[in-house]
Subunit: 228 residues, 3 copies
């Protein structure tokens, strides 16, 4: 019953998977570590960035994993990874594309996660937690697979803060009776704008003075491996 | 039915989450790696140490994740992380606090995990496995997020052994008809005592002669990053 | 109903767990990093390689985790890890054993994953995804626990490609009406043969010229830690 009430429209879900996949493949293609990824490695990062957030969300919610209920998700993620690989060469200098896509993707996964959790009857704080976990989860999996330091632990730029703010706004609006689509859209915009402003103005939280050289490097995908 | 029989009392569960959160934040605050964590990173470690074990337990048991069913868990974990951050400065030399809290927390998560698994009808060996996974899982997630070597793989001090012994004792007692609360308490005490004795007397398993410098460092949170 | 239709025979499932456990313990015993694993660490790697693929499969499928429904799985995994530790010394030079066992194990986990997913009614592409995730998942967990670079991201030798090819063949055969046991056997053989040929003839995907020194090292378990 409850699950039947709330279904993220397939086209919207696939849009998030596709944008995530492109962003992941761009990130991985730009990776200049001690060990380069092979083509499959790039594709795996694309799939992880497209799928990861949704899988984490559905595992936490203990519901069947949406991305496995239709052939379209894997098709979209693989196709998006290929597009990302092809775009990587011409876009190599356009870091803005990576950061911009990322801001939209974390906004979408955060909005989907929080609104699906609320629709399943979770209290607001856990619903916000699920949204943030969905938003940042794909990136955490990516960093673990690529043996990179986990970005949200070290990199400032208010990555998780942006996701949290968007999910909180969404939850407050929805509990205030705002229709879910509008609440989700506002939440997405809040997340994306905070994230972009943080990158543009180099905002960050205290206690990370030593990180400056690394911050931009991570966001632009030109980061050496841990082992350097 | 079965799940209705066995409910970890909320105050007890929140106690474990809170102690885990304090311990995690103390650990992360004391972290002196190449890259310092920002305040959010410290809070994330606290939340992971408070939540991680319970989430892994409930994922393995394929039941709704307890920590997401109430607003109290996140409130407690965040509050505990803040307390841990505030205590970190005055307690900086008091490594005993970190190790002591940790011994109690792994004992509690181990006892909750094994007893919940038994209550759900799992056979004893898998129930012990779930308890151990819940006890050590939070620490594994923490190490992965912080890009540290996973402590239970390398660090002696009988970390997982202590968790395993406590869970085995609990399972044996419960199968012998001892009331769950007493069995759990005994299991918790067994785990905590073994763990504390191992640290105090520097007990460890064979094949780790080269680890001595690292062992104390990990437990006290003054460990350099992998990349050094 | 659906789940009742399809049950991997216990002896077959335990065979995969046992071979995975032996292979994992052999791999971990041969590990010569900056920090050696203790005996428990070797056993944990064995258990992870025996259990990991099945746990990932069942989490993705949102069904109760098979390895936790009977005492036999943990008994088998622990026993297999002990056998692997005992065999490690006499077999030290016999890297072929590690690679050969691994080829069979990924074939088995891939076949179990895809066929169980199809039996649960998943569409073919997600079913293939589940099979590949089950096949490579144990190794990913192992690498993360051992703080190694995740092998499938960097190491050529068509590791994930072999798993994917076997799962695709299995899915096509089963959808064509071939009995599941035969389809699974053919899928297993396809995976194992591709993987072995890739190792023997040193086949790999583009963009990894710099990896040669590492590839053999990983497969034979004589790999230094990340931090070197």
């Amino acid at each position: 019953m409850e699950t039947a009430q709330f279904v993220i429209p397939l086209w919207l879900d696939l849009t998030a998977v596709g944008l995530g996949g492109i962003q992941g493949a761009l990130f991985a293609s730009g990776f200049r570590g001690e060990r380069r990824l092979d083509l499959l490695g790039v594709a795996i990062v694309g799939i992880v960035m497209g799928f990861g957030g949704g899988i984490i969300r559905d595992l936490l919610l203990n519901v069947p994993i949406g991305a496995l209920q239709s052939n379209w998700y894997l098709t979209t993620a693989v196709g998006a990874s290929l597009i990302g690989m092809l775009l990587a060469a011409p876009l190599q200098r356009l870091n803005a594309v990576i950061v911009g896509l990322d801001a939209i993707v974390i906004g979408m996964f955060g909005a989907f996660g929080t609104s699906k959790a609320l629709a399943l009857g979770l209290p607001p704080l856990p619903a916000i937690f699920v949204g943030v976990a969905a938003a940042v989860g794909g990136g955490i999996l990516r960093d673990m697979l690529m043996s990179l330091p986990v970005a949200i632990m070290h990199v400032g730029s208010l990555y998780a803060v942006a996701a949290g703010a968007g999910c909180i706004v969404l939850a407050v609006l929805e509990l205030a009776g705002v229709p879910i689509f509008i609440a989700g859209l506002v939440g997405l915009i809040v997340t994306a704008v905070i994230r972009l402003l943080a990158v543009i103005f180099d905002l960050s939280l205290p206690e990370q003075r030593m990180l400056n050289r690394r911050k931009v490097a991570t966001e632009t995908g030109v980061l050496p491996t841990v082992g350097r």
